[in-house]
């Protein structure tokens, strides 16, 4: 889901060397999961510049490292959309089946990983062959997938677990549950681990128990640490990816009576491009937390109220701005990373329900 920093740096250097201010455009793409659109914001001005119609409930976003292509998964109609990120137009779409969630792509842009929520399956889509070339079965409900930007040997898969009653009702609604191969599934297994999938073989080569249903995850660029939100834990986990184990369980400090007595959960987590901080959020409390990750145990450096329920987090590649989707408020909160202050709110159409976001440095035509 992120631009490899080495490649981003090359782009920025190229920009400087050429002295061409228009050699690339940095854009924020926002999946309006409550609707059918992806909104495009010019990061230079933090203003909405374009709306793309893609399909029902866009959810996952991933960009090629050169910023040339953007991929978007739409949950509602089960499609994968290929977007020309230079012109911001859709060039192709592929039907992968219902409930597509988050997606991630290898650094060469070849393999794209996408979870099918109700089928216990991550599909591996070959962008050159334009077909699914492998399927990775997992427990639970495939939702999130990330890579380490500088090391895409592995994909980290975090299927969540939903309430068994909901599974049963959903099975009734759909006729049956399906497995990876599309065959009827006889049992639903909840999940409490992160899977490690080898991108060379597209097989699971390890798992990391996390003690609950994993939610959004984020990897450090060097592939040494994974940070995970999990259900039932108001905070996040620090995972050593070499040892493949949880090394720290961080709890948010609850300050006000409201925070101490009102239920909330952690959702949305990402590492700043300079790799110094990890940010995550408490949804119902409307607070984003920034932690210094250059030390371990990690150290809280800022508590940022954003005024509505924060849900997903991304950053501009120059480390200046953090973008927090406020699904409840139909807006994007823009946070100055250095000062940890809310500097702007970008309003979006009512009911748009912004969720996943992705900043892309796209070449200029």
């Amino acid at each position: 889901m992120r631009l490899a920093p080495a490649i981003a740096a090359c782009w920025l250097l190229a920009l400087g060397a050429a002295g061409a201010a228009r050699a690339a455009t940095t854009k924020l793409y926002i999946a309006a999961t409550g609707g059918t659109q992806v909104y495009v914001v010019d990061v230079a001005t933090n203003s909405l510049v374009k709306t793309l119609e893609v399909g029902k409930s866009p959810h996952g976003i991933a960009a090629t490292t050169d910023g040339r292509w953007l991929w978007i998964a739409t949950e509602g109609d089960g499609k994968l959309h290929k977007i020309d990120a230079v012109r911001d137009v859709e060039t192709a779409s592929f039907d992968l089946g219902p409930y597509q969630q988050e997606i991630e792509i290898t650094n060469d842009g070849r393999l794209l990983y996408t979870g099918r929520f109700m089928d216990g399956c991550y599909d591996v889509f070959d962008t050159a062959k334009e077909s699914v070339v492998a399927r990775i079965p997992v427990d639970g409900n495939p939702h999130n997938v990330v890579k380490a930007a500088n090391d895409d040997r592995y994909m980290y898969l975090s299927p969540m677990s939903i309430d068994p009653d909901t599974v049963a009702k959903s099975a009734i609604k759909r006729g049956t549950l399906r497995d990876c191969a599309g065959k009827p599934k006889t049992a639903y297994l909840p999940n409490d681990k992160v899977y490690i999938a080898d991108t060379r073989t597209n097989t699971v080569v390890g798992t990391i128990p996390v003690g609950g249903s994993p939610r959004p995850i984020a990897a450090s660029d060097d592939g040494r640490r994974l940070y995970a939100d999990i259900d039932g834990w108001l905070g996040f986990l620090v995972i050593d990816l070499q040892a493949r184990k949880v090394i720290e369980r961080v709890k948010f400090p609850l300050v006000t009576d409201d925070e101490k007595t009102t239920f909330s959960r952690a959702h949305g987590i990402w590492v700043t491009p300079d790799q110094k901080e990890v940010w995550t959020a408490s949804v119902n409390h409307g607070v984003v937390y920034a932690y210094d990750r250059t030390v371990e145990p990690v150290r809280l450096v800022a508590r940022i109220p954003v005024g509505a329920a924060p849900y997903w987090i991304s950053f501009s590649p120059d480390d200046r701005m953090g973008y927090i989707s406020l699904s409840e408020g139909d807006a994007i909160a823009v946070i100055d990373v250095a000062s940890h202050k809310l500097v702007k709110t970008i309003p979006l159409p009512k009911g748009s329900g912004p969720k996943t976001t992705q900043v892309v440095v796209a070449p200029t035509p």
Binding site: S57, T262, F263, A309, E328
Partner: protein
Amino acid sequence: MERRALIGGAAASLAAAATGADASPSPRFLPFQTPVVIAFPQLEAVWAPAPFRARFTKSNGEDSVVPGIAVRTPRRIEAFCTYCPHELCVIKLTDDHQLRCPCHFSLFDPLRDGAWIAGPAMRRTYRFDHRVKGPDLVITGIEADLERRLL
């Protein structure tokens, strides 16, 4: 007029049945530490929600606060718990008079006691124990089933 207003939830199960709303059996309620009292004049305008928060004691002894809204619909005065049964995000009343979760977009029908319409919640909103007392709507408890989600 206010004294004769019908209210939703458990106290209006007969009325609910008559109007085709969710008529599932009355649940067990956990009492609030202090009842919420909303005077009818606060609910004069149709579809203008009055938000409130109420505190109860969980079985582990800890306090918990539950959010809700009281609202006059064209049919009656209702009170809805605004925790979405799916993942406990806080649902909102939309301009087109539905209750909508901002996280995963479950929809509930305020004209049918918060009955589930669509989305991953797959059940109606949690119920409040509430009644009309004089010129007020008095909300005294929350459906006990919510507690297992909060422990």
